[in-house]
């Protein structure tokens, strides 16, 4: 409880307090109470709306792709094959990789001079994709998908193992072909897991920060300026805690509302066995 108080409740309250004070342009001047008017200013500002749009795109790019890849890998790894354990470990390994390490790996791969990906794409000695306004967000998304696949894989594998063998055998005798078995039996039984993975994945994506900080710093032209990075930028680079506090509260509400909508929408379509 004390830990909660120190690390959750106090910062939360302090954040609301900050969001009502305009931060002065110079550090030594007193901050001024402006109430909710700061919300009006920030929430319609181009900077915030851009962040919102970029974040939305980022979620759309990363969550479904990570999920589908994780599911495919889990289905592959569920086969009874020799040496499959090694693959399981490999597939799950992105989870154990920190964002920083993943970012550095991809930063190197995408390096315009020595990067392997750049070489494959035939983009040597051109502008790095990370500096390309059109592709930077996609590149950052790819890193994130790679990272999220590990978690999705682990969740889906656990879900698959919970499907009783007897059911799959019944399928075999009933004559369900591979695709019918997947569509009519495995996926419905996995739906609670998929549902959980969608909610968790969305929240994780909304909170992405490390890869932006390391790869693009929100650039080029703010095209990768995700909300959390923007908040960080407002506080530490622009010295504007007030604006940052407003955005943080906006992010909180967005996350909450999205999660609630997902729970409402998906729960109706989810099958809980027994």
């Amino acid at each position: 409880m004390l830990i909660f108080a120190v690390f959750v409740f106090y910062p939360f309250a302090r954040n609301i307090y900050l969001s009502m004070y305009s931060t002065p342009p110079f550090p030594n001047l007193p901050s001024q109470f402006v109430g909710l008017s700061q919300y009006g200013q920030v929430l319609v500002s181009h900077n915030f709306l851009n962040s919102l749009w970029v974040t939305a795109l980022f979620v759309v790019y990363t969550v479904p792709a990570g999920l589908v890849l994780g599911l495919l890998l889990a289905l592959l790894a569920h086969q009874k094959l020799r040496g499959i354990r090694a693959f399981r470990t490999v597939f799950a390994s992105p989870v154990a990789t920190s964002v920083a390490v993943a970012s550095v790996i991809f930063f190197t791969l995408l390096n315009p001079q020595v990067g392997l990906f750049t070489y494959w794409l035939g983009q040597q000695d051109q502008l790095s994709v990370l500096d390309n306004p059109t592709w930077a967000l996609v590149a950052v998304s790819v890193v994130t998908i790679w990272q999220n696949v590990g978690l999705a894989f682990i969740l889906m594998s656990a879900g698959l193992q919970a499907v009783p063998d007897e059911l799959l055998e019944a399928c075999e005798i009933d004559g369900a072909k591979r695709w019918a078995r997947l569509r009519h039996v495995i996926l419905p039984l996995l739906s609670p897991t998929i549902f959980f993975a969608v909610v968790v994945g969305t929240i994780l994506s909304l909170q992405s920060f490390g890869q932006i900080d390391l790869l693009t710093q929100g650039g080029p032209l703010q095209r990768t300026n995700l909300l959390v990075y923007n908040i960080y930028d407002q506080v530490f680079n622009q010295n504007n805690a007030g604006r940052a506090a407003v955005m943080a509260i906006a992010l909180f509400w967005i996350t909450l509302v999205l999660a609630l909508i997902q729970i409402r929408l998906l729960e109706r379509r989810v099958t809980y066995a027994n």
């Binding site: 007897e166 059911l167 019944a170 009933d174 004559g175 369900a176 419905p188 039984l189 099958t271």
Partner: protein, 362 residues
């Protein structure tokens, strides 16, 4: 034709031999029960017939074709699993429909068959429910409906009654027999419950450690067990066995035990001599033993158990071997601690070679 023939089938899991050199012919329209203790390989045999497991050696024939390389769905079999294996997210209707749908049958035809199968098992009012909303007995009937809807040549059942409570089990047993007679199909039924085996089977196939011990009608298995294992496995209370050596007393061959001399019939004497067994296990069914004041085996009554319809009198021989005697309620029951003599007709004894477990004589 729905006969099933296994020839020289064997199956290993690592170093464990689950099924050894297995030959079995199940006749068309026969109810054959594979009976044995858990881990004896009976489920493996069933799964090999179903095609869920491939045998290491041997051939499997269903009807008159070899099906070793035929997919389970094309073997024209249906299986009822121990835990029913119903699809939890589908209604009863969709569960029964699923095998037809997978075969690409047009919907109107499917609906007719599903309705018919549901009707014959009393499931019509439950068609819109899901398995979680059904009782154990109802789920069991859904699993049966899903199996019969395809009209397979052979039904495979893997301990289908073991999850039901005792009362429902007896009732379902009868229903299963009636269903099999009505559909006139072949059933291969796996169980470890000898009562199910005795009551349902046309023929019993008793298995032990991956091999067949005996295949015969239940009455035959009971009256003439082919091995010591079968003798002790079938019957409740189980058959008593007393170990002794063949020996002559006054020129008569008998089995000498440390509790007393057991006399034999002339036929049995010949068989024992021919078998050259050094040590003989003498089997006595509890209901074939009488308690009297004189007889070949002196004993002390240890415990008397009353079951209402009968009494089980547990006696100890002089060398501490235990013998259970089953008495009807119309016979006087000895007191615990009484010294009595056990009597029996030699013709009702079962003799086995104690070393190999093989039956001696008829």
């Amino acid at each position: 034709m729905g006969q099933v023939t296994l020839r020289g089938v064997s199956k290993h899991y690592g170093t464990v031999e689950a099924v050894r050199d297995f030959d079995l012919k199940v006749m068309d329209r026969e109810f054959l029960v594979l009976l044995g203790p858990s881990g004896c390989g009976k489920s493996t045999v069933l799964r090999i017939i179903a095609g869920l497991e491939d045998p290491d050696e041997g051939t499997v024939e269903i009807g008159d074709r070899v099906v070793n390389d035929v997919e389970p769905k094309d073997r024209n079999i249906a299986m009822v699993f121990q835990n029913y294996a119903l699809y939890p997210h589908m209604t009863v209707h969709r569960n029964i429909d699923f095998p037809l749908k997978c075969r690409g049958m047009p919907k109107p035809e499917r609906d007719g068959l599903v309705a018919e199968a549901a009707e014959s098992l009393g499931l019509t009012p439950l068609l819109d429910r899901r398995p979680a909303q059904l009782s154990g007995g109802q789920r069991q009937r859904v699993a049966l409906a899903r199996a019969i809807v395809r009209r397979p040549e052979v039904f495979l059942m893997d301990e289908p009654l073991s999850n039901l409570d005792a009362k429902l089990r007896v009732q379902t047993r009868t229903e299963l027999i009636e269903l099999q007679r009505r559909l006139a199909t072949t059933v291969v039924y796996v169980t470890h419950d000898q009562i199910e085996g005795m009551t349902m089977a046309n023929r019993l196939a008793v298995m032990n450690e991956g091999a067949l011990e005996q295949v015969a009608p239940p009455s035959e298995v009971y009256a003439h067990p082919a091995s010591l294992f079968v003798a002790q496995f079938i019957g409740n209370p189980p058959m008593n066995t007393v170990i002794g050596k063949p020996a002559r007393v006054d020129g008569e061959l008998g089995i000498e035990t440390s509790g007393g001399q057991i006399p034999l019939t002339p036929g049995q004497c010949q068989a024992v001599e021919a078998s050259s067994a050094e040590s003989v296990a003498v089997g006595m069914r509890p209901e074939r033993i009488t308690i009297a004041s004189s007889g070949p085996l002196p004993a002390t009554v240890a415990v008397v158990e009353s079951l209402g319809s009968e009494h089980h009198v547990i006696c100890r021989l002089a060398d501490d071997q235990e013998v259970v005697v089953r008495l009807g309620t119309d016979v006087p029951v000895p007191k615990e601690g009484a010294r009595v003599h056990l009597g029996f007709e030699a013709g009702h004894l079962h003799l086995f070679d104690a070393a190999t477990g093989d039956r001696i004589g008829l």
